[in-house]
Amino acid sequence: MREKKLRLIITFHTTTAAMAFEKYCMANGLPGRLIPVPTSITAGCGMAWMAAPEDRPALEEAIQKDALAVDALYEIVH
């Protein structure tokens, strides 16, 4: 299994928001990828964006600047 370490996890209210976020990050060269949402955050289905904690400032800036629709940001061991 993948090594567990501290990661930045960004959640979304809908799959549409997750897709918009992925498209934005790909177009703007921002790091990370979509994974199944960790159950420590929420039970159920859905996708989350996983990146390194170091990437947080750049992602947060983009979220602010372009009003990207995200639910919440977490730093958890995953």
Binding site: M1, R2, P36, V37, T39, G44, C45, G46
Partner: protein, 379 residues
Amino acid sequence: MIYLDNAATTYHKPQSVIDAVVEAMQGMGNSSRGSHSGALKAARTVYDARCKAAALFGCSDPSRVVFTSNSTEALNIALSGLFAPGDHVISTDLEHNSVLRPLYRLQAEEGVLLDFVRADRQGCVDYDDFEVLIRPETKAVVCNHASNLTGNMLDLDQIGSICRKHGLLLVVDASQTAGCIPIDVEKTGISVLCFTGHKGLYGPQGTGGMCIAEGVEIRPFKVGGSGVQSFSKTQPAQYPTRLEAGTLNGHGLAGLSAAFDFIAETGVEAIHAKEIALMRRFYDGVKDIPGVKVYGDFSTDDRAAIVALNIRDYESGEVSDELSENYGIATRPGAHCAPRMHEALGTAEQGAVRFSFSYFNTEAEVDIAIDAIREIARL
């Protein structure tokens, strides 16, 4: 990619289905909108698909086959159009949210009364529980044919005879079984069968439908253009037009029609036998691996070709992600839109990793998946 998420949608479609959609998109009018050659081609295509659906599901009147965009829409049409305040409905823990949420909404907004037949830790029900829950206001049993989480099947013959005995409607969600398990609506006494086109029928997404028994009156969920009786202020009362306001997915239904041919030519029994053999090979390969826990009842082959499992206390999402990233194997983790089933199995927190097999999977793919599970389970 090794695609083992066929319970979500089948990935590999017969070439004849692909060809039929392409051919339809190269030129097709609107069914029931005019009588020029393009419109007639559409009307004939849709009617052929109706006849084939009726034949597959043992429905003697093709006009009682209604097309919808998927089984969720079929279930919403059926459930919103059958019940009145004070009616009592019996459902089960095996249900998908496409049954649960319409029922919960009827309960909250329309005063429909609800009870559930509980499933045990293996995901099985006790059929006596249906009769125990029946009361004077009971109008219907609404149930899954097979759980999309465990693959366990409900015995519709038993439930059908209980419904007959007590004069109840029987609404069945055949999302996981249409095309891979024989269904005979008239023999079984199914009032409304809801199916989706893109799973075991190997048709396009955006297709599905319902078979409605003689005497079952469903209030239309949507009303509008029908191409007939245009000066009437109300939706035509006759099926299927009654429930099919708006242009149908003619291009998709051309594909679904070819998919019905594929099912008829291949044979439902042959499809089931092949899928179950793949499922058994996988089940036998993983069930004794230390740390692996499989859910569901594998004592019979009367089930859908699904194996849900967990490895140790690993999050199902992490295991599924590992399978996808490092082995190229597509599975579905999490809740599978089946909250009550997960609660019954005790997997509400962990979720489960679901492997689901199709007629187009191979033994070699199954063996790779078994090896992957063995590696991940090794501490």
